[in-house]
């Protein structure tokens, strides 16, 4: 038996593959169904956002950020305007800050819902995908009401937000919160207890905190190892220090933890949304921002907790109304780095379970 000649097989997963979430290509070397090597190839969605930004005024860059992590565009919007506002020391009206927090947390919920849906779809369960879309659709509709777009919001401006909430919008958000809780309960019943699902994700793709830090992972990919690191808590920005919420962490750093953390984080986001809706004051939504935004010359970096991890914006200003250089620290891109070492030695079927749980958005990876 020992001298049966076997052959390695080189297989292309992607870029046109049903579950690489966009246009990621993974070149896997297979021995039977065991992966002996995996090599992610990125760049199929590269649009040169950072380079384009060098030729755009700061406010003009905002619509481009919508298209990076298109599942959490509000957070991207905020990352940019927050960086510029910090550089210019702008005063933001209270109401604008609250509105920002509400839309950001709603967007985080929408993004996490979508993660859960697509992840389960990857694992072969169809229905949850459509169930979560129901709630996501309501969030998207609310965004549509507040800023006129369903996916590419372009809602935030340097110095505030573009629109105030339409009448009744805040109440709508409040009324929406219990709906998400119900959906989450349903997901628990439908999936979390399912033995087949548990068998597929428990203990799969596990890594420890040291590995996570060495690969500069962030977000849920970091917290699943048990490390409590959330910028909303550790380096509070905006008005997050006014809210009462927890940072859920995992224990084993496996796919199951990552899945569960998404659910738990949604719960925390719901809490923030509820509190923000109760506390929101009246007032203007746009502060005194100069018409031409000219941050003083220098280098600036600021980061926020995006839906997928630490979303940083670094820019160099030479005092003009356009950045000299703009760089986004995209969490998906950095989180993806761990993939090859996670995949090595795994079964082919785990490829999808692991890749899905890393939760990347290709728009953000390629930028």
């Amino acid at each position: 038996m020992a001298d049966i000649r076997t052959e390695e097989m080189l297989m292309n997963v992607g870029p046109q593959h049903p579950s690489t979430h966009g246009v990621l290509r993974v070149v896997v070397k297979l021995d039977g169904e065991t992966i002996i090597d995996a090599d992610p190839v990125i760049g199929y969605l590269h649009r040169g956002t950072e380079k384009l930004a060098e030729d755009l005024q700061y406010n003009q860059i905002i619509p481009y950020t919508d298209r990076m992590d298109y599942l959490a565009a509000m957070l991207n919007n905020y990352a940019l305007v927050h960086a510029v506002e910090e550089a210019m020391d702008l005063e933001i009206p209270e109401r604008a800050e609250y509105l920002r927090v509400i839309v950001m947390e709603l967007n985080r919920i929408a993004s996490h819902l979508l993660f859960i849906g697509t992840y389960l779809l990857d694992l072969g369960a169809m229905s949850p995908f459509l169930y979560v879309f129901q709630d996501r659709e309501r969030i998207v509709q609310m965004f549509n009401e507040i800023c006129g777009a369903r996916l590419t919001y372009n809602y935030m401006r340097i110095g505030g937000v573009k629109w105030d909430a339409p009448p009744g919008w805040i109440d709508k958000v409040k009324a929406f919160v219990p709906h998400v809780r119900k959906t989450m309960g349903m997901l628990d019943d439908l999936v979390t207890g399912n033995e087949i699902f548990l068998n597929r994700v428990k203990g799969i793709g596990a890594y420890d905190a040291d590995t996570a830090i060495a690969h500069s992972l962030s977000g849920i990919n970091l917290r699943c190892t048990g490390l409590k690191w959330d910028l909303r808590r550790n380096r509070p920005y905006s008005i997050y220090d006014r809210f009462d919420f927890d940072i859920p962490v995992g224990e084993n750093g496996d796919c199951y933890d990552r899945y569960i953390l998404h659910l738990k984080e949604m719960e925390q986001s719901l809490r923030i949304v509820e509190q923000a809706c109760d506390q929101i004051p009246d007032g203007p939504v746009m502060g005194k921002a100069p018409k031409f935004v000219r941050p003083p010359a220098g280098e600036y970096f600021s980061a926020i907790e995006g839906a997928r991890g630490e979303l940083g914006v670094y820019f160099v200003s030479d005092g003009k109304d356009k950045p000299y250089r703009l760089k986004f620290r995209r969490p998906s891109f950095l989180n993806l780095q761990l993939l090859p070492s996670l995949l090595k030695g795994q079964n082919m079927a785990n490829l999808i379970a692991i890749l899905g749980a890393v939760d990347i958005v290709l728009g953000e990876v390629d930028c």
Binding site: M11, D122, A125
Partner: protein
């Protein structure tokens, strides 16, 4: 009428042969119709479970949607990949399809066999023929010369072979109770006694799991795990060859449902309603169950699949057989 089409006791003349062919054709067209509406039913049921409304554009309530799909498939170009093993590639879908139709020959629709064959070893015939389909699937996977197809084909071969054994074993309990391999006898035995699902509950559980796996349906749809293998063994197939594979797959769903309804739920027997209606109701319930599973379950992992069959399902089936034999001996003796 029934005697006219029931050819068990007729002499084999040209006339009978002609009638047989006619009967087979009628059954074929009936099955094609049934499969078409099964597709429609599946899409509707899963749609409803997912808060959608399913097909609704072609014809009233979308009733002609499946016909439109089939027409589309038939009108499509039949693509043979350049590097494929051409003859094998061409015949593989047919090899997979023919047995799926042939197994229907032993299913009794009603109390007496109309158009179908009342053979003594019907169950053996069913199991034997249905395994030929595996060859068709493997050939298709191999001949496509595509890596996804190859892995898909290998997976399904491994899966179907390992689940065929528990499937056969689970049927043994029924055979023991009825004392016959003939399906009509089995139904008659249930009429006298009770539905075998009660005394054979363990066997039924094994049957339903093994059957789902045998059908490559969720949660055992690994060969076509679209999120991993694109479309599995039929990735490269298009047009009517692809239709053949789909047809075979759905015919098996139908056939297994018929088998389950006959062996465990008394087939056509039932009060008040005519036999064929009872049979239809039971089969529909089975089919519905498969669709329901599909709407609910995630996919099992390939290595767990094998160990589940050999380490869990097979012992369970064996325990069931032993228990059944002991009880039967004990009842007979006492």
């Amino acid at each position: 009428m029934i005697a006219f089409f029931s050819w068990v006791h007729q002499a084999l003349t040209w006339g009978t042969v002609l009638k047989m062919v006619a009967g087979a054709l009628i059954v074929l067209f009936f099955l094609l119709g049934a499969v078409t509406y099964m597709l429609y039913f599946e899409r509707k049921v899963i749609g409803w479970m997912q808060l959608r409304i399913g097909p609704n554009r072609v014809g009233p309530l979308g009733l002609f949607q499946s016909f439109a799909d089939i027409l589309k498939l038939l009108a499509k170009e039949d693509i043979v990949p350049a590097e494929a093993d051409k003859p094998l590639f061409l015949i593989a879908p047919i090899v997979a399809f023919i047995p799926s139709f042939a197994v229907m020959a032993v299913i009794p629709w009603t109390a007496s066999h109309v158009f179908t064959a009342d053979i003594a070893v019907a169950l053996l015939y069913y199991l034997a023929l249905s395994s030929i389909t595996i060859v068709g699937i493997m050939l298709g996977g191999w001949a496509s010369n595509n890596k996804y197809s190859l892995i898909g084909g290998m997976r399904s071969a491994a899966q179907m072979i390992s689940y065929e054994i528990p499937l056969g074993m689970s049927l043994l309990g029924v055979i023991l109770l009825a004392g016959s391999l003939n399906i009509v006898d089995i139904v008659e035995a249930q009429r006298r006694f009770m539905w075998f699902v009660v005394p054979q509950f363990l066997g039924f559980c094994v049957f339903i799991v093994a059957a789902t796996a045998e059908l490559n349906r969720t949660p055992f749809d690994l060969p076509e795990a679209e999120s991993e293998l694109v479309a599995g063994y039929h990735t490269e197939y298009s047009g009517f060859r692809f239709a053949f594979y789909m047809l075979a797959e759905y015919l098996y769903v139908f056939a297994i449902s018929c088998l389950g309804a006959t062996l465990f739920f008394g087939g056509w027997s039932g009060p008040l309603l005519p036999g064929w209606l009872w049979f239809a109701i039971k089969v529909t319930a089975f089919i519905f169950f498969f669709f329901w599973l599909r709407a609910t379950m995630p996919r099992i992992r390939v290595d767990q699949l094998m160990s589940f069959s050999w380490k869990f399902l097979l012992p369970l089936a064996l325990v069931n057989i032993v228990l059944t034999s002991i009880i039967k001996y004990w009842v007979n003796a006492g």
